[in-house]
């Protein structure tokens, strides 16, 4: 499950780094690797800040290894904010969320998995080997970002760790399953990307009219169920009629 634990940051007790993203956003960084223990600290800080937001803070954005705090610097200054966060992180409890395990249908046919041959060639694998490796793993949802309802996944097998493209490629279709930089995402919206499209799911991870507009939460687990092109087309129609074809079970 754990990819690469930085030996210096493996301990969950180290103080975070504070980085500035301009004068109105503070990054509280607990490490620079994909590590469930680091992500737990991010989610713990997020939970405690959301429970009692300091005046002048605007939004908290949890990511793999850091929490971005958007704030109004005319209402709270950086030093005050850092002091509040230090106090919380010194005593932050473990994150206890309600994690679920999702199974998402995924088609690896090159008709939909536009870059699977290119990625497999770079990785020294056959198309089928790449698909099988990707379809067998269990992934942790570390965060959502980039597009509405888009989960970022850790747990990509070592053999599928591929560098991002030097420059982005043209937009992929909605539902694209992408790998890049040792990570995996499922993209609910068509977007340009620097990653490789190696599959597509018929499920909609964001649907405005659905009661739960956002299907998957940070902290959940995710598996892919490989399907062929015909099954994809069938499921896509069922999704269009409002059905949720992903399966959810308690973790």
């Amino acid at each position: 499950m754990i990819l690469k634990v930085d030996p210096d940051l493996g301990s969950a007790l180290l103080a975070p780094r504070f980085l500035d993203a301009g004068e109105a956003a503070l990054v509280v960084q607990f490490g620079d690797t994909v590590d469930p223990a680091i992500n737990d600290r991010v989610l713990a800080l997020d939970a405690v800040l959301r429970g009692d937001p300091p005046a002048g803070t605007r939004e908290f954005v949890p990511t793999y290894r850091s929490l971005m705090i958007h704030y109004d610097p005319l209402r709270i200054d950086r030093d005050t904010l850092v002091a509040v966060v230090r106090r919380y992180t010194a005593s932050a409890a473990e994150w206890r969320g309600e994690a679920a395990t999702w199974t998402l249908p995924c088609c690896y046919d090159p008709a939909l998995a536009e870059d699977i041959d290119e990625a497999a060639q770079i990785l020294g694998l056959t198309r089928d080997e790449a698909a099988a490796l990707h379809g067998k793993a269990t992934y942790r949802v570390y965060m959502c970002g980039f597009a509405p309802g888009q989960p970022y996944l850790g747990g990509v097998p070592e053999a599928l760790v591929i560098s991002r493209r030097p420059t982005p490629r043209p937009p992929h279709a909605a539902g694209a399953v992408l790998i890049g930089g040792g990570l995996c995402v499922v993209a609910p919206f068509a977007m340009p990307t620097g990653w490789y499209v190696i599959g597509r799911t018929p499920e909609r991870l964001y649907a405005a009219e659905r009661k739960d507009a956002f299907l998957i939460q940070a902290g959940d687990y995710l598996r892919f169920n490989p399907i062929d092109l015909a099954t994809f087309c069938d499921l896509e129609q069922r999704v269009a009629s409002g059905e949720i074809v992903a399966r959810k079970s308690a973790a």
Binding site: L19, D20, A21, G22, E23, A24, A25, V27, Q29, D32, T33, V34, D46, R58, E59, F60, V61, P62, T63, Y64, R65, S66, L67, M68, H70, D72, P73, L74, R75, D77, R78, M143, C144, G145, F146, A147, P148, G149, Q150, Y152, S163, R164, R165, P166, T167, P168, G180, G181, G182, L183, F189, M191, G194, Y206, A208, F214
Partner: protein, 350 residues
């Protein structure tokens, strides 16, 4: 689109690409990957809104250099235009580039990309009647959120207005010298990932010179200039992105992430444009040259405070008495009509 049964309507006669409805942004959903959107130039957006007596963050049309022609239907509307130095006319008569006026039933207001600037804002006194998506009218076309069906404004769109307050009788030039902003120097706070670059690359980044590329939109402005090299590779574990973040992908060409940016991303961000300089950069046209200057958080906050103080003083509108006078003549008038504005919110930027 459907409009309210009563009240005046803005009807779009023609529209170039890239005009959208924008309020102060869709805030609170970055954690689900939902982009805030909002104005590219929040100072100009606020100026136009305040000039018609609206709160600073009200929904207004953000007009691109593609331009737009509109008319009023079923009544007259109080409108204000401010932003870049666009070419405006009312029933064929030229207007100053920042102006407040009554748009009478059937009158045609033309807005065209003029001498400089990339965006201008058409604010209407009252409230534009469009559905909210996650609490906001801000349009994000890539995900189809907000505005009119999540898309840019097109010919034939009819926008209903719920009016509040009374109309001012006169036409007037908006006195907003703060919208006359030379590009020259764009201030940044270094980081959050400037430690992914060696010192000589930081020096090269600050020295430039940089040129705004033709490749730019509400999501990102690509820059042309020295190629930057990374000291520690260009893959980072994806983290949050603030508006104005300058990411450097593998090809070493910086990209400034703007209002429609994604909420998170995985290229190192060498620096972040300070809030008060975002609108200035947004207004730059392709080919414009500038350099970056690194400032401290304290300096950036001071600049924000100055900007907030400017707007807090209110917007002055100078009357244009006779419509057949040339805009040059009218601009020379020095009659103070009075203060129209209300007090803006604490700070314009995210």
């Amino acid at each position: 689109m459907m409009v309210a049964a009563s009240g005046a309507i803005i009807r779009v006669l023609s529209a170039g690409p890239g005009t959208t409805l924008q309020d102060a942004g869709r805030h609170g959903y970055l954690r689900y990957g939902v982009t805030a959107a909002g104005p590219m130039d929040s100072l100009a957006h606020a100026t136009a809104n305040l000039a018609v007596g609206n709160p600073a963050g009200s929904t207004a049309l953000e007009v691109s250099v593609g331009g737009i022609d509109v008319t009023a239907e079923s009544g007259s509307l109080r409108v204000a235009i401010a932003g870049g130095e666009f070419a405006l006319s009312l029933d064929g008569r030229p207007l100053p580039p920042a102006v407040a006026l009554n748009l009478e039933d059937g009158a045609v207001l033309k807005i065209r990309g003029g001498r400089s600037g990339s965006w201008c804002y058409l604010a209407v006194a009252g409230r534009l009647v469009v559905p909210e998506v996650l609490g906001s009218h801000a349009t994000h076309t890539r995900t189809g959120f907000g505005g009119v069906d999540g898309r840019a404004i097109v010919a034939g769109d009819r926008l209903g207005i719920e009016r509040s307050g009374s109309s001012k009788p006169s036409m007037g030039a908006i006195v907003a010298p703060w919208l006359d902003r030379p590009l020259n120097v764009i201030r940044v706070v270094l980081g959050p990932q400037h430690d992914y670059f060696a010192d000589d690359q930081i020096t090269a980044f600050l020295a430039g010179p940089w040129f705004v590329s033709a490749k730019r939109d509400r999501m990102a402005y690509f820059l042309e200039g020295p190629r930057l090299t990374h000291a520690r590779g260009y893959n980072i574990v994806s983290d949050g992105i603030a508006m104005g973040a300058i990411q450097v992908p593998g090809d070493g060409r910086p990209i400034v992430l703007m209002a429609d940016r994604q909420s998170t991303g995985g290229y190192p961000k060498i620096a972040t444009v300070i809030g008060p300089d975002l609108g200035r950069l947004a207004q730059a046209r392709p080919g414009a040259m500038f350099r970056f200057e690194a400032v401290s958080i304290a300096q950036a906050v001071a600049a924000r405070r100055e900007e907030a103080a400017l707007l807090a003083r209110g917007i002055v509108v100078e009357p244009l008495v006779r419509m057949h006078f040339t805009s040059e003549f009218l601009l020379g008038l020095n009659l103070i009509d009075g203060v129209v504005a209300s007090t803006p919110s604490d700070s314009l930027h995210d």
